[in-house]
Symmetry: D2
Subunit: 305 residues, 4 copies
């Protein structure tokens, strides 16, 4: 129609190719939301499981996400460097992702909070950040896991002081101000007999979602039983700061070669094949020549015979 010219005002927002894309979502006003819904303090395990369930839904709908990390009211999703979805259009990626996440959060709410009615529709914000190297992408995840650790240690102390120590919020805050990690460990153990190490891993480390290939039984079209590999999303609560996690999963950071590298690779491969062919050819020739000679000998032998 005559009005279609308004489409020209839409601006292209495609992100850089060959770059890690990290989408982070975060609950809007969850300080109020968690209070209104009586979340356990400092960590509500039901809430964390609901977050994980929603993140799983997202990973199943966007297959180029290679790893996700969640804690508190937030989740980060890492798209592979060469992700192609929606032509890497920033708005498509962040809105479809946050929409799916929120949708799942409300959809699965009653499964995780069977006794708590959802009071109003919650919302999450979403943003995308580009990271040029593996190291910096990993540093991003370190940033979030260190944040989880720092907050959880603080919150654990704070609510122990309040709930078990009978302190007011203000006093607890004052008591903790200026303390280091080691002080907090000692406080918990010395005053309350709590070993911070014994706290739930999901609280201390947050949640890590990665894909794993598992063997599953399938029935073939011919009605036979067979094994197939299937990629499923698994939930871990492990350290992602140290190298080990990444060394154990080289596929997460493995570079898919660039076009020119693929071409060089193909060229090299062809050379190898040609060399192999040539060698085979040579050998075959040598063999033929041997056989020939042998034949001659045989013939001779026959002749001789």
């Amino acid at each position: 129609s005559q009005y279609e010219y308004v489409r020209q005002f839409e601006q292209n927002d495609s992100l850089l190719p060959a770059t890690w894309l990290v989408v982070r979502i975060d609950g809007q006003g969850f300080t109020k939301f968690t209070t209104r819904h009586g979340f356990t303090k400092p960590n509500d395990i039901r809430a964390l499981h609901l977050m994980n369930r929603s993140a799983k839904e997202v990973m199943e709908s966007m297959t180029e996400i290679v790893i996700s990390y969640g804690q508190s009211d937030e989740y980060s999703f890492v798209f592979s460097k060469d992700a192609k979805a929606y032509d890497r259009r920033a708005s498509k990626l962040i809105t479809l992702l946050v929409s799916r996440f929120t949708s799942a959060y409300v959809y699965y709410w009653s499964e995780f909070f069977p006794d708590t009615k959802l009071q109003f529709p919650p919302a999450f914000d979403s943003r995308v950040v580009q990271y040029p190297s593996d190291r910096i992408m990993r540093d991003y995840l370190c940033w979030r896991q260190v944040d989880c650790h720092i907050n959880n240690m603080y919150n654990t102390c704070f609510w122990t002081l309040v709930n078990k120590g009978g302190m007011s919020n203000k006093d607890a805050e004052k008591r903790l101000s200026g303390t280091l990690s080691s002080d907090k460990n000692e406080l918990l153990f010395g005053e309350f007999g709590i070993n911070y190490n014994d706290e739930k891993e999901i609280f201390k480390k947050g949640s890590v979602l990665v894909r794993e290939n598992t063997l599953v039984d399938v029935t073939t079209p011919e009605g036979k039983c067979a094994k197939r590999t299937k990629s499923t999303v698994v939930i871990l609560h492990c350290d992602i700061i140290r190298d080990q996690f990444w060394n154990d999963r080289p596929e997460l950071t493995r570079d898919r070669p660039t076009k020119s590298e693929r071409k060089a690779e193909r060229a090299k491969q062809r050379e190898i094949e040609l060399a192999a062919e040539a060698e085979a050819e040579e050998e075959a020739a040598a063999k033929r020549s041997r056989q020939c000679k042998a034949g001659e000998t045989d013939n001779k032998a026959e002749d001789d015979a």
Copy 2:
């Protein structure tokens, strides 16, 4: 922490000031979603009401939206030219909006589809477009309403041919190919006795959400009854292409003056006030002088007396 440097990779995405911002959301893969949930064809009134309910939720949470327009699986939200929310950061606006919308869609689903279980969490995409002038912003809305009209007329004919005319989908498509609006009107009326004008306005025009000030009864802190104006979101199904709608609602496109205009206005106002003061002063002086003279006269009179 040492990892916080990763925040420097977040890029500023603030939109132009003093410009209309239009956010449009659209259901992802709703061809499949509507089929899976048995939506009435071509228009499912329950679905449209659910869309409107969700849009209302959005308008209540983002008060700088001045008008919204919805049809099919999409909704457009127009922020006032001088909207300040989230510093006009594009990603904040589009993600919080689509998240709230989706959240409400799932949250209110059972209210509008009491007999249909939601099969899986739906998702919407979202984008923002900037429009520099009132005329172009209005042309944007015209574009969407014309699209609604064209699609609805086509769909009405198509499903009439199929459902009442007993045609196959293919034949119906062929029958309609190349027909103009007038042909379609005639087809409906001539062959099926249907007057397109009698179709539901919500189908023909889509839905328009605007704010209206209404008087409501409130109880004051002192326990008395009183009237207050309250802004509520109302749902219309009217033409927004012609001038009338906009002439009737001058507040929608009224320019808030720029800073320099406000300053000029204040200066002019001050001049007027000064002039008024001066005049008043003069008059007062004149009066005093008259009174004075009168007094003298009086005195004289008194003296004379």
Copy 3:
């Protein structure tokens, strides 16, 4: 070649349609450049004329610029709202413009500074800003002209105190700190007999470049003399803050109608034409009928004759 994939990393930077584009360039490190080349203080008329010459070169090479404004080491170029050059790609606009400007500055240097050798190649930076309305675009130009006025008034006082008042730079600065425009006017007049109003307009107002249509004599292909209108760039030193300048030049801010307006306009035009045609037709018919009757009468008369 296999390497061409690197082009995919170029990002689209097209600016909003139907929006004023203002490109401002500014001399890099001109504090040093002006010192090294012995520019007259506070204003070097040769330098200003060279700036104007370079800006004229730019306007001649980019025909969608409707007005330019220059002062000190800077120049602003206003592209018409519907400029189409280089698809409105930001980088093309700002780089070609600044490159042409710089090129002209060096190229014409010796024409304006015949006795001063250019010591090293100067550089200018360049940026583009989008303005959605006429009012705000005009406020932009006001901002620059007010800046010119403020700086020039200050500099005039400062260098008068130093050069004629024999003050040190420091003392002059101190003397002027906290003074208002009126104080400065008085200082100049009271202490030095200088009427600021008598200063050169190019210093007080800066330079305004607009296009003007003039009649020129041309020789037609047939060798005859003829008049043609030719658009030339003229240099003014006038106020562009008040309405008068803009009222006198309505073409500067005249909106080219949008597509939908043009269509509506054409429709209306067609109606008018149809009405006119119909009227003409009617009249013609009436005339024919009159003529016919008259003819009958005539015929009769003839018959009678």
Copy 4:
């Protein structure tokens, strides 16, 4: 002033940190420019030297450029991944660079074209592209050098056919259409006795600018002679596609460690130092203990004595 609000319309255009930035400039309409100035075909050595001189000027004014590559009417400048200039603002980088380049081109023109008057001020466009990895940045340079090679081989053949072979432009074009590199080599050698390998390297390979540290004699403040290392820009005409160039210059692609790596490095260093200290301490203790025992023995001996 009241007008300063217009600055809020300037948008932030900072580029991604830790990413290669490549600025490419290209002569505008140089097909016409080279004709008007009688450039030698296909390569004008004076023009190439002038381009190189201008690029050198740019590298001297922007010290974070690590390598530049030029051919025909274009030049590419590679900023180091961690370049900080102008906060990585895209418009500042591309405009200051192209302005300086153009300025130098006009400024040095007469030095390289002593007998050719510059007819009009030339202009260059400029753009910036971000490359996330060393490999892709190198592929960018490969793209340009391959382009140089392909064009030069074609142009050499074309102008040989025209100038030495007496062909029309059209015929030369036809003759070359569909030919491969090897065909062109043969044509040159077979028909004209020209060995393409003997062509000037600057034509075949383009120009590569890198910085080199050289020892220079300086006079110290105390008036003595001394050697200092000074970084100067050198011009090469070598292959930059193969690894050798890069292996020979590891500083070009050496990563400066990230913040977290620097911290880890420091921590490791500290551990090493602590270990060393501890060891030293231990040894010292052992020594003291030995000395002590020895002393005791001595004492004993003394006692005994």
